[in-house]
């Protein structure tokens, strides 16, 4: 079986490689590029831990061959913080609002929330919950994940974050 030459932009960096067509994007990111922030959770396209941003879409990288991503612009969790280490508003939000416990789902949550806020900069709680409905968290009960995303939305929009009354 012949290998395929692929070329794409990952976190702003041009990447070229020869890959077996059956290589899944998540394996390529983790094993060939060492970008292990993208996690493999269920490996069956249910849990969303492997979510990355591809051509301005949130996709599950366990259910996509690298060859399908040929020519794409990809953003992973490693590309979120500024080069000087300043956290992205979403990363800051998850830290400030205790949006993670074990942290396994967090990279996928943040990548999905990133696209959600790009499409809808000021989402309601319901819109956040349906927006992250393809990402499973088994620790938090989602309450603080929603708050983390609201925190990030407020920060990106330049308004003070106010926690909703419970």
């Amino acid at each position: 079986m012949s290998k395929v030459h692929v070329k794409m932009t990952i976190n702003g960096r041009e990447v070229e490689a020869l890959v077996e067509p059956r290589t899944l994007l998540v394996h390529f990111l983790r094993e060939q590029l060492g970008l292990t922030g993208t996690h493999i959770g269920c490996d069956t396209s249910h849990c969303g831990a492997c979510t990355v941003d591809l051509n301005e879409m949130s996709v599950k990288s366990c259910t996509l061959f690298v060859v399908q991503a040929n020519g794409a612009a990809i953003l992973t969790i490693e590309g979120m913080a500024a080069p000087d280490g300043t956290l992205h508003a979403l990363q800051e939000g998850f830290r400030q609002m205790h949006g993670l416990q074990c942290g396994y789902c967090t990279p996928g949550m943040i990548m999905r929330a990133h696209r959600l806020l790009k499409e809808n900069p000021n989402p309601s709680e319901d819109e956040i919950r349906s927006g992250i409905s393809g990402n499973l968290c088994r620790c938090t009960g989602y309450q603080n994940i929603v708050k983390s995303i609201q925190y990030a939305a407020a920060k990106i929009n330049g308004v003070p974050y106010q926690e909703a009354a419970e």
Binding site: S2, L24, T44, V59, I132, G134
Partner: protein, 288 residues
């Protein structure tokens, strides 16, 4: 999980894709969004030797109005259909159905062509397309042909599409203004296939139902067009008796499997429940 090895092909025209499928034979599969095919390749329930990726064929994209019907390119994604102002205005039932498929990530990638051509009885679009009397455009070695959705599904994963054919377009007759519509899907959580689901379209004149169509998802080996159930509504004012008759007629044609979401009897009963709810919601939305 790692799929078996395969050769990857990325044609840029329908003609080239069809030629590849004809040349490679039974071991080749067309690849659309891949969200049905890749999971079964990972578990090795499927191990095609060749994948013919349709993503490079620009003519398979887009949603257009053409005289008396809407033409949706096979590679239009669920997200694109959800965001389409044309569909929102003319066929809002498509948006309602798309939003119940998978989850946001899956809807960015999953396509209408893959959903209707795959032949999985759990997919939602096939029953809707039967309800809407859509036609599928197929391109093959011997040219083009159209098959009605109502004649397309032969069994689980068995359709009228030949191995060397590609489903290129879904063509849906434009329904009358003021029609009532609803897609009602019973499922336990996001991303699940339906326990049972019903697509309903209704048209009224002076308070009386003059046309109705009902499709059923995941309650038999194939999606079902519930002709008798729809007939139970036509000519009535869609009162409680008519709705109960339609729900009973729908249940009568189901043949669901027992699975983790419930025994067959339950899923048959839930077919009636989804039909009733869909009719009630469609009636509320219709201009009576």
């Amino acid at each position: 999980m790692i799929p078996a090895k395969f050769e990857y092909h990325r044609p840029t025209s329908v003609q080239d894709a069809v030629a590849l499928l004809a040349q490679l034979g039974e071991e080749a599969r067309p690849l659309a969004g891949g969200h049905s095919l890749i999971p079964v390749m990972k578990t090795r329930l499927a191990a095609p030797e060749h994948l013919v990726d349709l993503a490079g064929i620009s003519s398979l994209k887009g949603i257009r109005r053409e005289q008396d019907h809407i033409a949706i390119g096979a590679m239009a994604t669920q997200s694109e259909m959800i965001a389409s102002p044309l569909l929102a205005e003319i066929l809002p039932i498509i948006r309602e159905t798309s939003l119940l498929i998978g989850d946001p990530q899956i809807r960015y990638v999953g396509t209408i062509g893959g959903n209707v051509a795959n032949g999985d009885p759990g997919n939602d679009m096939p029953a809707l397309m039967m309800c809407l009397d859509a036609e599928y455009q197929l391109a093959g070695r011997n040219g083009q042909r159209r098959v009605r959705a109502r004649a397309f599904y032969l069994g689980a994963y068995d359709t009228a599409r030949q191995n060397d054919e590609i489903l290129t377009e879904v063509r849906i007759p434009i329904p009358a203004k003021g029609h009532g519509y609803a897609y009602e899907k019973l499922k336990r959580k996001v991303g699940d296939y339906a326990v049972a689901a019903a697509a309903v379209m209704l048209m009224f004149t002076n308070g009386t139902c003059r046309a109705a169509s009902i499709g059923l998802t995941n309650v038999a080996d194939t999606p079902l067009w519930a002709e008798a159930a729809a007939r139970a509504l036509v000519g009535t004012r869609i009162d409680r008796t008519a709705i109960a008759n339609a729900a009973n007629a729908a249940e009568a044609i189901t043949n669901p499997a027992s699975d983790g979401h419930g025994p067959a009897e339950y899923r048959r009963k839930m077919t009636g429940v989804t039909v009733r709810r869909a009719i009630e919601r469609a009636k509320l939305r219709a201009e009576v």
